[in-house]
Amino acid sequence: MARIALEAVDLGKRYKIYGHPAGRILEALTGGRRAFHRDHWALRGVNLRLPRGVCLGVVGANGAGKSTLLRLLTGVTAPTSGFYRIEGSVGSLLELGAGFHPAFSGRDNARMNASILGFSRAEIEARLPSIEAFAELGEFFDRPVRTYSSGMGMRLAFSVAAAVEPDMLLVDEVFAVGDMHFQSKCVEKIFEMKRRGCTILFCSHSLYDIRQLCDEAIWLREGRVVEHADAVTVTNAYAAFERSLDRFAVEKVLGKIPQAEGEGVRPRIADARVCRVGTEEEADRVSPGEGIEVRVWYRNPDPARTPIHVGVGFFRNDSTLCCADTTEFARLEVPGRAGCVVHRVPRVALLSGTFQVFAILFDVRAVHRYDQFICRRPLVVLNRGKDVGLFLQDHEWEVRPGEEAPAAPAAPSAEAGARARP
């Protein structure tokens, strides 16, 4: 069995929030009998067991406790409850600039960091060339760190962290400041460290990176671990729940469709809901490939004067309109004073996310709207596969080894370009 690199039991961190700086002194004066603070548990009841060489992803919204967990594990701050046990040396990349003296050069900072981590002078001098080469700072390596851009600071920090070859590496969302070239170098390096048996905790908002780099993942919400499983399962679950859409945002988008003119009684949507195909069961959690129906019940008091069309669509959290269709596009009629229009999706193609399903009642040209309706319950799609993105496009793969690209078409001449313009 692999050795356990990290074991955490009931780990918790409480911050005391003082309304006023004097609260701390008053509290000390009363011997703690009266509290002048309120508690904020940034992390609570976290249990972890990581074998050596495992890469654990940490996902969660801002303020969910990701950084607190990583900070605790570096030892820079102490837990309020529980304990943890780490076998081996720990390297970390948490905050930009942490561990650097702004007045020292990159080289001196690299020396200082390595010496604090317990390397001898000879070991440090032996590693400096590889740090310098990896960081690609050029002459800035010998300039004070305070003159660095945030990307340069990150490059130096990562180079040092990688060069000291820790048994465990804690990485907070720091890649974001690096350029593409350096990001890919970092990812390569992390894979290499992993192969060498380095245990990695990786905190990121990029679910794609987590899936690619991590074996396992935890999802933190309000300081607690709500899911701990393989990285694909956790990131899918997280994507499905955290992408919840503000209904007002949808209404705002729908509100841009011009309102139909006219007085008197107008057509209305009585109700709309999403069900599993052929059942009355409301579908609020589905997986790609399953079948759903969006049912829209309408009332139209005067169908002769106000003929209608029905539209149905799906919004994702970032106000992306994923797809929408109307009975007008499909050349259907929606007759009668009342009825139900069913929008049937035999196989859901959307990938992980929370979607708002809406219905719109249009005029006969499907230009102006009489009414709109957002389904009460959002539709949560939970992907079980590794695919990422908005939806799964029907596709197949074919590999043809040895095939050359056909000769590129000649670049359009100035004459051809001129002719193309009417």
């Binding site: 911050y15 700086p21 820079v76 102490a78 529980g82 780490i86 942490a98």
Partner: protein, 295 residues
């Protein structure tokens, strides 16, 4: 077991107890020895930064005290014609006596003042888990010590130039240094840690140092303590470590003539410095885990 040498770190919610803190305090010299390169880099940087970019550069540490002495001479000897008969001081002895007290006090006060904000100001470094943050106050104390060394060289030159005898006891001056350094460091570690939690500390410290300076015989002869003050009060003032440092140094360089060697001051300063260092460092060690929560 494949690699029995792997260090294992277990961290619990319990802050280190007094036993653990005292044990850690006892390892202080080992810590300093391990990080001596780093410490040297900090001290060098500190001293350099002070005069970097100025026209006179390295002359400043000599020029500053020299001009200060010139001012004292002008005011106290030429204009005010000061003499401290109680202490047996007259003529050129007066400005030298003042000057030695001022540079000693200055080194101490500047150390405390700068060290108090050193943890908060170096948040970047303190945020690195393995960073030995106690080196920050220590590096400031050593840098101020180096600046004091230069000022003392100016003193020594003036002492000789003004024709005052140099007694053999001046060789014992280094005996005051360990106690003074330990005391300054102990106070600094406490105020630096306290300032992380209560940011009024720096203001309190600078006010407190002003009071402290006037209660230390920097500008008045210690002999005055005997008259006009309630005996308990003057006894308390005599236990002030800075009293021992200032008066001890003045006695050793011969400003008080053939007075007996100030063994009492040397021993008292060493003892008080040791106690202050132990207490201040223990407080620091208990508080350090919470530093990052507050920075």
């Amino acid at each position: 077991m494949d690699t029995p040498s792997i260090p294992v770190r277990t961290v619990t919610a319990q802050p280190p107890g007094w036993g653990a803190r005292l044990a850690a305090a006892a390892r202080f010299p080992a810590l300093v020895a391990r990080h001596r390169d780093l410490l040297a880099a900090f001290v060098r940087r500190d001293v350099q930064a002070r005069f970097q970019g100025s026209v006179l550069g390295r002359l400043w540490p000599l020029l500053q005290p020299g001009l200060l002495f010139g001012l004292y001479y002008l005011v106290f000897v030429s204009i005010l014609k000061f003499r401290f008969d109680e202490a047996g001081l007259k003529g050129a002895q007066v400005p030298l006596w003042l000057f030695l007290g001022v540079i000693l006090w200055g080194a101490f006060a500047t150390t405390i003042q700068r060290a108090t904000v050193s943890i908060v100001d170096n948040g970047n470094l303190v945020k690195m888990a393995t960073f030995p943050s106690e080196l920050l106050p220590l590096s400031i104390a050593l840098a101020e010590g180096a600046v004091f060394g230069l000022a003392f060289a100016v003193y020594a030159a003036l002492h000789v130039a003004l024709g005052l005898p140099v007694p053999a006891s001046a060789l014992l001056l280094p005996l005051l240094l360990p106690g003074l350094l330990a005391f300054a460091l102990g106070v600094s570690l406490f105020t630096a840690a306290a300032h992380v939690f209560v940011r009024d500390t720096a203001n309190l410290v600078s006010l407190g140092l002003t009071f402290w300076m006037f209660l230390t015989p920097v500008f008045w002869p210690a002999a005055n303590l005997a008259k006009g003050l309630p005996p308990t009060f003057s006894a308390v003032l005599r236990e002030n470590p800075m009293y021992h440092a200032v008066e001890g140094a003045r006695a050793l360089v011969g400003l008080y003539g053939e007075a007996p060697l100030p063994w009492g001051s040397i021993v008292a300063l060493l003892a008080e410095g040791g106690v202050a260092l132990l207490l201040g460092y223990s407080y620091f060690l208990g508080a350090r885990q919470r530093f990052v929560d507050e920075i």
